[in-house]
Structures are given as structure tokens and as C-alpha cells.
Amino acid sequence: MKNLMTSAIALMALTGAAAAEGELNIYNWGNYTNPDLIKKFEEENDVKVTITDYDSNTTALAKIEAGGHGFDIVVPTHSYVQIYVGKDLLMKPGIPEMENYGNISEVWKNVDWDPGREYTVPWQWGTTGVAVNKSAYSGDVNTSAIWLDTPDELKGKVNVVPEMQDVMNLAVMYMGGEPCTTDKAKLKEVRDKLVEAKADWMSMDYGMTEKLGNGDVMASVNWNGSTFRARLNNPDVTYGYPKEGYIVWMDNVAILKDAQNVENAKKFVNFIMDPENAAMISAFARYANGIDGSDDFMPEDMKGAPEIVVPEELKAAGKFTSSCPKEAQDLYTAIWTDLQK
């Protein structure tokens, strides 16, 4: 039965592909790609696009490294771009020569993880901070104390997304350390703080866009765009930028070295640097995109949204973290295991 269905789906996929000029296989984070954007690209270029989801950078990297995946495009976070480059997995598609290259905002053109934008172009960027339902707690939300020294009103109603490195780095910064620290005295404080704080948590789960929106969770470590989407369902949900330090990241679109549909992939990379298309990306996932001029095409409710526009006085607290080296990683995993035992 299952086989029959798989064949039927495969058959449909085949016939679909036969109708279009070519194919493009995108490997991207789940719930992150605007279907209208894909439809527009398909219609303009007569290409059949297939999107496959992943839920973490490690999953994506492992699958791509294993080979035989058939993907043309992947969207790694900035901290993973150099790992991909180091493993020789990405292509240099001549991005600076592309028609829409000039649209990349000046600040995102020459970035540490990809100087001169040889391999990647911006998809979206955002922050990892806290989301709080104002109906449950009306105090200051710009602090990691929300989940590390949980106020009484929020006890037992807090979630922490199980994103190990982000959560660990937030906790380390809250305790006054540097991200990816290997300072054991500091890590011991962090561990003790986390273990103590966990007693007040309800869960360590993903899917906060829905759960914050419907009131199952009153506060969470969360991403800004996800919080934005939750707020659209529930006006009480607010986003906080922890003053002790929060995480800034950018997801970047890259073409894989073993891509089968290189021309279509290049077209897509150029396509998303067009301000109107970049605005479509943001309109769906609710993160900023790093393309100049896209604001003009954004939905009205995105303009000046508190989840997107970082308050001036909190800008300095944002940290671009790199992927932690093995030593820090092992320490983080040990603490994480201890936390979830």
C-alpha cells in the first residue's frame, strides 16, 4: 500500500517535472519558505521547484555531506557557512556579477562568514531572545531573567526551545561570560543556574509560533520572527531583547557544489535579491531580509514592527555567535545532558 502510494507520488512528481522546463531542489528550514514566492519563481522561469525541510543545521550538514541528496540549494545559518566552505560543499556562482547583487544592504555585503559574498546571499536575519505574554507578566521583558530567574507570575508557564547552542550561549551571557566559553568556573555557574531555573520551566519544545499564540505557553526563549507571527494571533505576545546579551544570526542561501540544476539555482539566487521578492520572503516568515528597498514592498504591519527593529540602546547586546569549537561543544553537551537527565 505504502509502496503503491510512493510510486503514485513519484509518478506525479515525474509528470510534473516533465511539464516544466527544468527543476530546482531547495533544502530549507521548515515553515520558512513563502509558497507564493516559489509559485512566482516557477511561473517566471518555467521551473518545477521542490522544497525539502530540515529542522537543524546539523541535520542539513550531515545529509549534504553524505551525498546523493539531489539538492541544489541550501540555507545554512551564518555560523555554518564556513563549515560548508571548509568541507568544500559550496559553489562560487559569481554572485557579485549577478544583476541584483547591488541590492544587498551594505552591512550584509562584507560579512565575516563570507567576505565579499562569494558563496552566499542573505535569506533572512533575526535574533534569538525571549517572548512574553503581557497578560501574564507586565515587568521588563528585555532580559533573560524571564527564563533564568523566572518571575513568580511566569513560573511553570515558561518554555525553552531545545536549541542547545543558542540556549547555552544566552545563559552564559546572562552569567557574564562570552559565547562558546571554555572557562570552567563560569560554566559551573551556568550549569547550576540552568538546573535551578529548570524547575520553573514547563517544557523544552519547538513550535512556539502556535503555542504562544494560543496561550499554552506564557513565555519562551524564542526567535523574533516566530514571536511576530504569534503576536498576529495574540496581541499580548511581546518580544524582548535580553540586555545581558542575545543572539543575532543570518540564514544564507548557497548553491551546492554538486547541484544538478546550476542554472536554475543561479536564477533563484538572483531572484531573491530582488527587493520585491525579498519582501515576499519576509512577509511569510516575518524576519528581516537584508535587501535594500524591500521595505517598500513589505506588508504594512512589518514596517517598524518591534520584533524587527532593534531598539537603539539594546543594539550593542546583540552577538553574532560562531559555531562553537569542539572543546566548548563537548562542555555544552555535557551540561545539556545533565540538564535534561
Binding site: S56, T58, T59, L61, A62, E65, Y80, I83, G156, N159, P162, E163, M164, Q165, K184, A185, L187, K188, K198, W201, M202, S203, M204, D205, N214, G215, D216, S323, P325, K326, Q329, D330, L331, T333, A334, I335, W336, T337, D338, Q340, K341
Partner: protein, 299 residues
């Protein structure tokens, strides 16, 4: 042709099965074994250097703060929780499954097929969807809490979601059919005249159950228990969704090593330990049933 012995033909005919077995089961297992003796790569994957570090780390931990070596307390806790929850799941499914199987086996033959068919209906739906359905039932504003509040039994919602209770409910629901089916098969072959004989010999109801029924259907009980216990032990989706991820089970712990933990050898070693636990359970199963084989086999 003329010289080919039956044994040889037998081997020849089973080649496809053997190849499948090798490619599908033994090959991947061999890879897991090999990986468990390698060093972890910097960002996922493995480095091809022989190392027993992973095995050391399964059982012991070097304290990250003062470098003393001690038993891996966190790992033991996680393993113990998994075994405990799996045993409880097995017990719950048995308590619910036995009367169910008995009920089906005592229906007229024409109706049995319908009841069995109903038991298999949950298998039509993906595990993930069934788990989310349970989540809808147990969440604070969910069916169960709304109903209890409506009847006035409780004043405010019970926090069931994100607790071990939710995990137990979820696993018992998901694995119940795996208990009912082997139990049914055993009870179906049971000769009900034996119960009458028991009563004739002045046995009480509990004595009939304990001394006549249970020993005879024991292979079914053991088979059902194994079928429930083994997948419960490796359960991954249910604890993650219903347990809220605060406390890991073995499955989640192994996933952590292959994912965010970036330590594949440790993940591989942990998988083999899990395999070992299952193996022990299966050996126990074979021993229990083979002792009984003579009494039960031919009925």
C-alpha cells in the same frame, strides 16, 4: 541439476532473503559498530581513528569541572527512566489489552473479524498525527480537562501535558494494538472447557485465572509484552512531543548525539547499548516460551 542436494537448493532459494537481510539489517548494524569505535568529527560525522572514548563515556563521565572520573550519573538516569516508562507502558497495555483480547476471542467467529479490524484502525494513521491527537486530548484547554471541568470533578485544569503521565498515556495508546493482537492469538486457541474443568475441581475464579488461563496464554502475554516493551524503549516522538522535552529518554538522548551534540561515536555506542537491552529481553522471551513450548505448542 541431478547433483544438487535439497540443502543446496534451500540455500539458493533463500539467497534473496539473505541478501536483503545483509543489506537491510546486518550491513547498517556493522556501520554502527564501526562508528562506535571512532573519534567524533569537529562538526558531525566521524574521524577514522580508532578510539574507545565513546564507550568510556557511555558509562563514565569526567567531571567537567574537576576532571574526576565517576559513573555517568546522567546517562544512568536517562536509561533508567526509559526502562521504567517502558515497563509501565507494558503493564498498562496488558491490563487494558487482556480483557479486550478476551472479549474479542469470546465473540462468535463472525464478529471477531470486525473487532480485530477495529483494533487495527489506529495503524492507518501516522504515529506523529496520533501523538498530536493525544496532545489535543490532554492539554490544559483540551478535551479531557474541559470534560472534567464541565462535570465539576476538578476546578482548574490538570497539568498532564509535558509530564511523564502524558508520555505514558501516549505510549500506552500507541502500542496497545501490539499487545492485544498476540493476546488474542493466544486466547483464541484456548480451550474454554478447561475453565469448566477448573470449576468442577472447586477452583475459585481467581484460581482459575491464575492457575489455568494465565499459564496457558503466557506465550501470548510474553510476545505482547516484548512487542510493546521494545519499541517503547526506543520511543522518540512520543516523549519529545508529550513529555515536553524537559527529560530525555534513550531515543532522544541518542538523537542529541547525532544532532546538536555532534558526537556520532557516542550516539552509536548508545544505540548498541539499547540494542543489547533489547537482546536481553528477547533472550528472556525465548527462554520463557521454550519452557512452555510442550504444553502449548500443539493445541
Amino acid at each position: 541439476m541431478a547433483r544438487s542436494s535439497p540443502a543446496r537448493t534451500g540455500w539458493l532459494l533463500s539467497t534473496p532473503a539473505l541478501i536483503l537481510l545483509f543489506i537491510g539489517a546486518l550491513g547498517p548494524l556493522a556501520i554502527v559498530v564501526v562508528y562506535a569505535f571512532l573519534e567524533p568529527g569537529e562538526y558531525s560525522g566521524v574521524v577514522w581513528n580508532f578510539s574507545t572514548e565513546a564507550w568510556f563515556r557511555v558509562f563514565f563521565e569526567r567531571d567537567i569541572f574537576d576532571d574526576t572520573v565517576s559513573m555517568a550519573d546522567a546517562h544512568l538516569t536517562i536509561f533508567w527512566r526509559s526502562v521504567k516508562l517502558s515497563l509501565l507502558t507494558t503493564f498498562i497495555t496488558f491490563v487494558i489489552g487482556f480483557p479486550t483480547a478476551w472479549f474479542i476471542a469470546t465473540r462468535p467467529p463472525t464478529q471477531r473479524a470486525i473487532w480485530l479490524f477495529l483494533i487495527t484502525i489506529p495503524f492507518w494513521t501516522n504515529l506523529l498525527i496520533r501523538t498530536f491527537a493525544i496532545m489535543e486530548v490532554v492539554r490544559n484547554q483540551g478535551l479531557l480537562n474541559s470534560f472534567l471541568m464541565w462535570t465539576g470533578v476538578i476546578g482548574r485544569p490538570l497539568q498532564i501535558l509535558y509530564t511523564d503521565t502524558a508520555v505514558l498515556i501516549g505510549m500506552a495508546y500507541v502500542y496497545l494494538p501490539l499487545m492485544v493482537l498476540p493476546l488474542f492469538a493466544a486466547i483464541d486457541r484456548f480451550d474454554f472447557k478447561l475453565i469448566e474443568a477448573g470449576y468442577d475441581l472447586y477452583a475459585s475464579r481467581t484460581k482459575v485465572l491464575r492457575r489455568v488461563i494465565l499459564p496457558i496464554v503466557r506465550p501470548g502475554i510474553v510476545a505482547g509484552s516484548i512487542l510493546v516493551f521494545v519499541p517503547s524503549l526506543g520511543a522518540y516522538v512520543t516523549p519529545r512531543i508529550l513529555g515536553g522535552g524537559k527529560n530525555m529518554m534513550i531515543g532522544n538522548f541518542i538523537e542529541l548525539q547525532f544532532g546538536q551534540g555532534r558526537n556520532w561515536p557516542l550516539g552509536a555506542a548508545l544505540s548498541l547499548i539499547l540494542l543489547l537491552i533489547v537482546l536481553v529481553a528477547l533472550i528472556a522471551y525465548v527462554r520463557v516460551t521454550s519452557n512452555d513450548g510442550g504444553r502449548d505448542g500443539q493445541t
